[in-house]
């Protein structure tokens, strides 16, 4: 055996896991390598995993899982680690099962409009592999250049174009899952939608990696729309912008995407790698995209221009070329990362609000910003009311991370207070565990952890995520129940 293939560890678990995945090239256990896995896109909590393993196929995943559960080792799955709520952070020193080497496009079935992928297959690669045949995969999180479809399933990812076509769960036809005991099950076999019985596909999609490890995914693919066009509109007042959004939707138009950025967000994207020249002094920019049959598009665009003009728009126009359209979207889609250009760190929040409440919510967020002394930028999937306040901070300043967390939590409270909720697409993870209490009672949370227990009874898989640690009263009730049974 060559030196590179030798595992230089005395830990028997490391040696045994290495045997399962085929040697040193498929396992990491040195501190320096593990540090690269101590967090994901959510950087406030960090913890080292015990090891990272890189299985090649479902069988290896099942064996790893069996080994971990037999030896009481906590474990979790990780895709590209772009999650924004800490779902892939090994809080308990987990064995991380990295899915990125399972990255094959297994099959494409154009006739039945579906494709089968391994979980490590990168979102955008699916569209890129079928676009020449006139098809695409609709869910388009802004992280689609890098995030995995497995991670998308776990987080039920959404994207700018999910307003019209729905989020990940609307595009999943079947899953192969390794259950926390190592058993391999298929859900939604043969990709037939709406199978009788409980909607297990729905349950697994968005379960944030707490119920099982997805090893194969059958997704729906769509035919490319005949045409698409994007309108850009600048507003001097947020109120006018959000009113325009409501008007567009009440006019019966269903845009493919409807996005808004506020002044601070604009400052960020303009300072970063893909500036397009948005004016710095406007309060809101709207990007409105319509797609569909070519003939209908022009009419819809005219209607949208008209609606915006009625709402005191400063400037509104349709993209002059495909290149311009692409530039507008690149600017928007790199919006989160762009915050790096104006702040050392940022925390993305992910609330959902009734659209009509946007002006009120933004002014309350402004207040949170001035009280905390931290700047907050807002990027808004305006069509479906999914608001991303980005709290800008500097982790090197003692106490500022905590302040950012607190400000983020307050933003979510505002969202819950106006009748919305605390996550639209990024998941709860570690970050919003406590905020679950803004929207669920103790009993409702307990009902959900009961479901988790059915699948993940020893809670070895991705423990400590999604739900707040139970408060005393529920714990006592559980204990009483346990006593009654025994």
């Amino acid at each position: 055996m060559r030196a590179k293939d030798r595992v230089k560890s005395k830990d028997k678990h490391i040696l045994n896991l290495a045997d399962i995945v085929g040697g040193a090239r498929s396992i990491l256990y040195l501190k320096v390598d593990l540090v690269a896995y101590d967090c994901d896109g959510f950087t406030i909590h960090k913890h080292l995993p015990k090891a990272v393993v890189f299985p090649k196929n479902t069988q290896e995943v099942a064996e790893i899982v069996k080994y971990c559960s037999a030896n009481n080792l906590p474990f979790l799955a990780r895709g590209a680690g772009t999650g924004l709520s800490g779902g892939a952070i090994p809080l308990n020193g987990e064995i991380i099962i990295s899915m990125v080497r399972m990255k094959k496009l297994i099959s494409v079935d154009l006739e039945n409009r579906r494709a089968v992928v391994e979980p490590g297959f990168v979102n955008l690669k699916l569209t890129n592999s079928i676009s020449d045949k006139g098809y695409y995969y609709a869910p388009d999180p802004s992280s689609q250049y890098c995030c995995t479809i497995g991670g998308n399933v776990a987080e039920n990812a959404g994207g700018a174009h999910c307003l019209k076509y729905g989020v990940t769960t609307n595009h999943i036809l079947g899953l192969e899952v390794v259950m926390p005991n190592g058993e391999i099950v298929e859900i939604g076999k043969d990709g037939i939608p709406d199978a009788p019985g409980y909607d297990l596909l729905g349950l697994f999609t968005g379960s944030e990696g707490t119920l099982g490890i997805v090893t194969k995914i059958t997704v729906r693919i769509l035919k490319n729309p005949e045409g698409k066009q994007t309108v850009l509109a600048y507003f001097d007042r947020v109120e006018d912008g959000s009113q325009a959004v409501s008007d567009i939707i009440s006019a019966g138009i269903v845009p493919a995407a409807l996005e808004m950025m506020d002044k601070t967000a604009i400052e960020g994207v303009e300072a970063a790698a893909f500036p397009v020249g948005h004016p710095k002094d406007i309060e809101a920019v709207l990007l409105i995209e319509v797609d569909g049959i070519a003939a209908g598009i022009e009419e819809q665009i005219d209607q949208i221009l008209e609606v915006c003009r009625k709402r005191d728009v400063r400037e509104v126009r349709a993209a002059g070329s495909e290149e311009e359209r692409a530039r507008w979207w690149a600017n928007r889609k790199t919006g989160f990362g762009a915050m790096g250009a104006i702040s050392p760190d940022y925390l993305v929040q992910d609330g959902v609000i009734p659209r009509s409440k946007l002006p009120e919510v933004l002014s309350r967020i402004n207040q949170i910003s001035s009280e905390s002394g931290l700047r907050i930028a807002n990027i808004f999937h305006a069509g479906d009311g999914n608001l991303h306040p980005l709290v800008l901070f500097d982790a090197r300043i003692p106490g500022e991370s905590e302040k950012a967390l607190e400000a983020g939590s307050q933003c979510l409270k505002v969202c819950a207070d106006v009748g919305g909720t605390i996550t639209g697409e990024h998941g709860v993870g570690i970050e919003k565990r406590e905020e679950m209490r803004f929207v669920f009672t103790e009993e409702e949370i307990a009902a959900q952890t009961d479901i988790r227990e059915v699948f993940n009874p020893h809670n070895l898989l991705n423990a400590g995520k999604l739900f707040p640690s139970p408060s005393r009263c529920v714990e006592i009730k559980k204990e009483m129940k346990a006593q009654a049974i025994s």
């Binding site: 540090v35 790698a273 893909f274």
Partner: protein, 452 residues
Amino acid sequence: MSVQELDLKQEPPCTSGLGNYLWSDPPDEKKWADCVHCGMCLESCPTYEQTGQEQHSPRGRVHLIKSVAEGTLQVNEQFIDPVFQCLDCRACTTACPADVDVGGLIEEARGQIRQAMPLTGVKGAISKFFLHDLFPHQNRLNTLGGLLKFYQKSGIQKAVRKTKLINVMPQHLVDMESIMPEVKEPVKKKYKDVKVIKAKGETKQEVAMLTGCVMDVMFSDINESTINVLTRNGNDVVIPQSQTCCGALHVHAGDRDMGRKLAKQNMEAFKDFDKVIVNAAGCGCMMKEYAELFKEDPEMHAKAEEFSEKVEDISKFLHDTGYEKPNAEMNTRITYHDACHLAHGQGIRQQPRDILLDIPGVDMVHMPNSDRCCGSAGIYNITNPEMANAVLESKMENVPDDVEMISMGNPGCMLQMAMGVQKYGRNQKIVHTVQLLDWAYQKEDRMKEGEE
């Protein structure tokens, strides 16, 4: 790398470091402050593509480098692998929405590693031979004539001639073959006593030219082509004799002291000129970044910044100052490979393509992922052959089947791609962008002579 090869007992100097960086010139905090750990760079990285491991990704590398400064990691043997497996291809810098200078951080981190753990043993000897005893000394390089053969062997030129393949090649390719200049003596030597190589016709301006160390020995024909193309388009060309190797290889290897020495020598050699023309992307990129080497020396830093302004790649220079479009038809199908240090390093993508498309009869076929690294990366293919080969293999998969030439703007890439062509049984000719332009000019001249 085994422990024996490393000398861990180097005592740090008594300068103020940063966290666990104990040596001077540590990685620059400002560079990682912009990284928000979003992961948008992952898929751009060839070493992440190959391994799927995040310590071999840009985000991971930035995170590790930062962790040393924060005291969670140390500059030790384990730290070497993630930092030295990086190809320094800069694809991540293009992909990053926050413009994080990952390449710059990597080079600074390498500087720390090499100060803390100088290479000893076999690796040390090889590295010393290349970096100290060879590249900075033009005369030694020149006498290394054997290397010349290497180029001809790895290109198709020799194979084609030996196997008599030339007889079955399409006529226009045979033509091309016949006009391909023979490898000549290094231009720096050749023009030793010529103060100014005069422009043909009216002089528009005077430029200085970097001949490069390896370039001038293995690729002096490209240097000749560069001179021809420059003089043909109204430029007087000066080749300052006191110029030396640009230092890129040294800086990539973590030898920043040597890098500074060479940088100073070049800044001095070119100080009287307004433009320094470079035909090797790697050298151009390095010279544009000399200021990075002098962060702790404000005076030199300012000088280096001024100097960087003067450095320009030949394709951008021609594009910006104008060039005569050749009249002769070249009739060939080609594809273009974006050298990392042109595309990612200097943002030069369209200019060379425009030049090639201005040559009549050039049919350009798109290469998918054309700005993906070929694995050459300075002497990376010598130091990390396994990764370099894996990266080369995926590069070659993207080279279209039906092209006759692959054009590019960097000698390192040319060697690596020539190797790829040979290894994977392909038959493309590897050319530099200015060569193709020069051949078109020459063909035009010959046609005119024939008419007369």
